[in-house]
Point group: C2
């Protein structure tokens, strides 16, 4: 019933907006993206149409301005892309990947301890 295609880079930018804002019109997305990326209104329209064909978004046509919503959930895309990253660049090593994320001056001690307690819960669960 499913197996949605991997979104392209441009499609991902749009999905991001839909994930953050919820269901949106072309204009909504344009106002969020067009200004920052310099891309035109019809470009975003076209992309959304293509994404609709692919099944990446749903379209509500009952109003004059169609309303698009993500059919690929952020969680699904997170799973897919993490798995992909792991295999293509980290040789499957989750430890290396976590290390890369956290080995960065910009990670505050607060964040670190938060993540520590998060892992503690995971350890507790996994028995």
């Amino acid at each position: 019933m499913k197996e949605l295609p991997k979104p392209s880079e441009g499609e991902l930018r749009i999905l991001q907006v839909l994930w953050n804002r919820g269901p949106s019109t072309v204009r909504d997305v344009f106002e969020r993206l067009g200004q920052t990326t310099g891309v035109g209104y019809t470009t975003i329209l076209k992309l959304l149409q293509i994404m609709h064909e692919k099944g990446l978004v749903a379209r509500d046509e009952s109003a004059r301005s169609h309303i698009y919503s993500a059919r690929l959930s952020r969680e699904e895309e997170q799973e897919r892309s993490v798995e992909n990253l792991l295999q293509t660049v980290f040789n499957g090593s989750k430890k290396q990947l976590v290390l890369q994320i956290l080995a960065d001056e910009k990670v505050s001690k607060k964040e670190l301890t938060e993540i520590q307690s998060l892992i503690s819960e995971l350890v507790a669960d996994s028995r």
Copy 2:
């Protein structure tokens, strides 16, 4: 002097081989990839030539069979791609990203505790 372009999907597959094997000929890469991906010899040759033009790999032409080696290091690509993933799919939340990596039955308790001690070191360092 630098700023190498983002490697494409096919280029990444090849870089992976170079990272794992070290400097390699087209045939070396082909034997690693061709069988599993079904792609032809000249395809890999062409890709490597393009990557050379882009500066992603270095080429030693002293022998008959040229020897290619990665100029984009695995570490650089790891940084780049993690940052990208973080921004495009995780809204910049490292915590969410780490959670996604570890919230998986297939992560053993051993791995978890390894990562725990890893974080402990980081916390200790960051004062």
